[in-house]
Symmetry: C2
Subunit: 307 residues, 2 copies
């Protein structure tokens, strides 16, 4: 993987499906390029908002190859590669490293609940050792509201002790700033890169030594979020942060993934983009109209998306 | 799949791993045969206690083929085939049907939490329609403590309305007898087969119209549990139920999967059987000694296991 570390705004890229629910590489490449041209410093493909766990390992690998072949630079990519099965996590991680990705964002195995830090340590250690590639940059993915399996400070400390060169950072999607702050205070000074799990904490994260955010709304609002990232030391930073918060607040009235796809379908003039895989469900037509109206009333736009 | 429905005691068969964490088909076939010779009416391979979600889809298919090739009758098999990704669930289910399995036990997609019944309905409907095989017998797997995604009575009703021939029953691992009773009352009379998720509810389940149980401890104590199943109408049924409850109470002092494997390792004189995949962790040597001592003090044995 590349020596340069990612920093800034990363989108957990939503995955386009055709109406038959098959992944659509052409739409995927186009959206990834639009994101990189409109404020995203990197792409956390195969995250929670990507419906990654609704894709098989083979589907993920095919899509990742399509991105690279389609001209998306691998040094901008941080694919999610943590699955429930150790063997799948190893396979996806080795594949991403082989393609030259900047890093991987790794969920803990998420089926069993109440597992020990020892068991989680063994999982990550096995992946790192089996991949066995000095280019690996592993970002831990802490998202207890969904995975229900947290990544503790003690686990991070132990992993950094054993695998300092490979364990590069974390995405904290706990929604708990106190946790993010504790991770920053404990590990940021030693080169552990902390990404806030949403733009709601972007300014706080930057002021405390973080590296940016990986956020759902980065899929549709990357330029405005990037302005907060770039201008976090400026006097208008709090006002800019309030602005991106207002956009987020509209989206949060709806199921997030379906809302992001509905916005892309609307501003991209491409209705099929709204398709989600079960167990998710698309917005109703009324919900989509209301979402679009609320965003439009705020002056929201996605310039250049409709091509 | 065979016309005869499974009923009785089913074990969610623990999956043997070699020390390098690779699945071991030879030990697997031997244990499955032992279970069928010692009280199990069927084998719910790839359940929660099987560490199924620590296996890739390919690893599951290879193991299932090894069982059938090794002489385990497919009409005794109810493999778990529900994964987070729709495409994986379809692939595993079609494979199991193709091998002639008696049924499949299907988790809901378990990554996203708080999903709608509409989304879950679409998931199961897509699997049934894509597999498109009249031999399919699908058992729903309700295990909210682990999957965190429940299967509601409303969802069962809707699935039965659309797919009466395919949707055959449920394993209720909620640990909530009131839920099991409600499912029995609503659907058992129409031929929907209800399996209790542990032997703790076996007698109650049989007295209320259920078909048996699918239980972790079936891996080591199948004969005694089968006696409760066969004798549930007899006058000593409550005493027999108390007996299997005492064995269960010992196991529940330990992490269940590691304890089951430790017991098999001990009574089978095969230490490698204790191996688990991360994120699980084996019992310590002291825990294993204490588990074995407690079980032995109760007269527990696994006759014929050591070969």
């Amino acid at each position: 993987m590349s020596a340069a570390r990612l920093a800034g705004v990363l989108a957990p890229v939503v995955t386009p499906f055709r109406r038959d629910l098959s992944p659509d590489p052409a739409r995927y490449v186009r959206h990834c390029k639009w994101l990189l041209e409109h404020g995203c410093a990197g792409l956390a493909v195969f995250g929670t908002n990507s419906e990654a766990n609704s894709l098989s390992a083979d589907e993920r690998m095919t899509l990742l190859e399509a991105l690279v072949q389609g001209g998306v630079p691998p040094e901008k990519l941080m694919p999610g590669t943590g699955m429930s099965a150790l063997t799948d996590s190893v396979r996806l991680t080795a594949h991403a490293v082989g393609l030259g990705c900047a890093g991987v964002l790794m969920l803990p195995p998420f089926y069993y609940k109440g597992v020990s830090d020892e068991g989680l340590y063994r999982n990550f250690a096995e992946v790192i050792e089996r991949v066995g590639d000095a280019r690996l940059r592993l970002y831990l993915y802490h998202i207890p509201p969904v995975a229900q399996v947290p990544i503790s400070l003690g686990l991070i400390e132990r992993l950094l002790k054993s695998f300092a060169g490979s364990v590069a950072g974390i995405k904290d999607s706990s929604g708990d700033w106190n946790n993010t702050k504790a991770v920053l205070d404990a590990f940021a000074s030693s080169g552990f890169d902390v990404f806030a799990g949403s733009e709601a904490f972007l300014l706080q994260n930057m002021r405390s030594g973080g590296k940016g955010c990986i956020t759902a709304t980065g899929n549709i609002n990357p330029a405005a979020i990037d302005r907060v990232y770039r201008g976090w030391r400026d006097s208008d930073a709090d006002a800019l942060q309030a602005g991106i918060g207002a956009t987020r607040a509209i989206l949060q009235k709806y199921p997030m993934i379906s809302a992001l796809k509905a916005a892309i379908a609307h501003w991209g003039r491409d209705p099929d983009w709204a398709t989600v895989r079960p167990p998710l469900v698309e917005l109703t037509a009324a919900e989509q109209r209301s979402l679009v109206a609320e965003l439009a009333a705020q002056g929201f736009d996605m310039p250049g998306l409709a091509g």
